[in-house]
């Protein structure tokens, strides 16, 4: 069991970056010091509030570092406003506090070193990929561990319903990676499904490892695509969680292990799973 901790975190900034999509930084040094790409944190608005009651899981987007020393002082998350809790989240101003705990989950360290990484994101699913792509291209590092196994090529296929929902594209474009945008209505990038774009990249030569994060239909399509082609594929899943640290058994994910199907806790054994094990 990895160590995690609870911190009262001060909001550093909180601003909209796309339609219904916000980006927030929280000062939380203990968390920032340890969290790895693909891991997540739980965030609760404030102690004492009973409605909404529970915290929510948010993927690490990036770590905030102090300019001169480079010390990790905070974490950034990018969130989609979908309900009561996330609406209240948009009202948090710099200087106000929230309670966070983490780092939680296995993160992308569950994925073996890969020469050619194809990241496939749908909706808000691009958020965990910034830190991952930045690390595997040697641009940034996270946690105490210095990762050395860099990828030769990283491609991000990022799809949304329309251009106004695409968030943080500039950040990704500044990384030494290929960014392929897709929208359902053709308002940005190519018109069509992100999995179609991903399939075309897999036609190119390379030792591809595919990593998906997004809505379930997209993940299922990716699982099938990679299964047909014999390409290693990992999925970062988003499921409802009550605690995030393994106590509640809410976040059960059905997985196939040696022929039998059993549940695994997404918060402890995930959120990153080998796609061949996940049962949709």
């Amino acid at each position: 069991m990895q160590a995690w901790s609870v911190e009262e975190a001060t909001v550093l900034w909180n601003r909209p970056v796309a339609r219904d999509t916000w980006r927030m930084a929280l000062q939380a040094p203990r968390l920032a010091d340890r969290i790895r790409p693909g891991q997540f944190l739980m965030l609760r608005l404030a102690n004492g509030r009973s409605d909404p009651l529970l915290a929510r899981p948010y993927a690490l987007y990036d770590v905030v570092r102090l300019g001169s020393t480079g010390d990790a002082i905070g974490v950034e998350i990018v969130y989609l406003v979908v309900g009561k809790q996330t609406r209240l989240l948009t009202e948090l101003r710099p200087g106000e506090t929230a309670v966070v705990w983490g780092p939680l989950g296995n993160g992308f360290d569950a994925i073996p070193p890969a020469r050619h990484l194809l990241l496939v994101a749908g909706g808000i699913g691009q958020t965990p990929f910034y830190a991952f792509a930045a690390e595997r291209t040697g641009v940034r590092h996270y946690g105490a561990e210095q990762r050395t196994e860099l990828a030769e090529a990283v491609v991000l296929c990022y799809g949304a319903r329309s251009s106004d929902l695409l968030a943080c594209v500039d950040d990704f474009s500044r990384l030494p990676i290929e960014v392929v945008l897709c929208t359902d209505d053709g308002s940005a990038g190519r018109r069509g499904l992100v999995t179609e774009a991903a399939a075309e990249w897999l036609d190119r030569p390379g030792n591809w490892v595919v990593v998906g994060c997004g809505p379930e239909p997209m993940l299922r399509a990716l699982q099938q695509l990679c299964g047909r082609r014999g390409v290693p594929c990992y999925l970062s899943l988003e499921v409802p969680m009550a605690c995030g640290f393994g106590a509640c058994f809410s976040c059960a994910v059905p997985v196939r292990l040696g022929g039998a199907v059993d549940y695994r806790r997404c918060c402890l054994d995930g959120p990153v799973f080998d796609a061949s094990e996940v049962v949709f």
């Binding site: 102690n47 529970l54 409802p240 009550a242």
Partner: protein, 309 residues
Amino acid sequence: MTASRVDLTVRVGPLRLQNPILLASGTCGYVYELAAAVPVQRLGGVIPKTVTLQPRAGNPPPRTVETACGLLNSIGLDNDGIDHFLDHHLPRLSTLGVPLIVNVAGKAPEEFARLCERIDRVADVVAAIELNLSCPNVAGGIDFAVRPELTEGVLRRCRAATGLPLIAKLTPNVTDIAAIGQAAEQGGATAISAINTVLGMAVDWRRRRPRLGAGLGGLSGPAIKPIALRCVWQLCRAVSCPVIGIGGIQSIDDVMEFLVAGATAVQIGTATFYDPACAVRLVDQLPGAVAELGATSVRDIVGSLRFRQ
């Protein structure tokens, strides 16, 4: 009275606890998950997730839904069975430095008794057994604690199977919880814990479907605290054994309300999910609150509720 002099120890039958704050079964996993961040050895005791004789996969997701000031769950006793518990979890649990109360559930009285026999063999590392007579989420299982004679029957079988203290965990989903409590005591319960979750439901009307994978679920959290307080008070009037209060406790005021209403100890449940350090903080806050009543010991305030004549 100064807070630093307050005696927090309580007795649950032969069991002496350093304080009355426990972690409730089903809300702290196998405790080691929480112990990675929170000093659980400061608590009065911990109660890991229910163990059954055979492994159970649990219910299909979604397993939890948040409701107004509450949480509806239908986990379905997801666990790997008593063999795995004894081999895998117990060795880790016994190193945590906190009294361990093992919670068990059976589909029949014989299963409860067999579970108690197995745990009795490791009685040196177990402080007590809590009998989950009341899980609302197990299809086909009998909810023993809805009928006095079934409750008493299970207790008698278990009493014969172990010398460990037995805590009967009761459901609020009954007409007369006092009668069930009396039956548990009659059958040999060392103590009674109440309440388990309140049976509930959530509906997605647009899809015309229940929100939980299993359809129905158990409600917990601050929403059920008044129900739990009422049950604890009714039980305390009806039985002479200790009663352990459970239900929506998240603040020191909540703890004090249960103690004054008659609870010898309390269990922190759903609050651990949204405030992982809650129980430990309550241990810190308890002496000050007891001192505020001019008492020197937690035991002095238990059951001190006064009704206007």
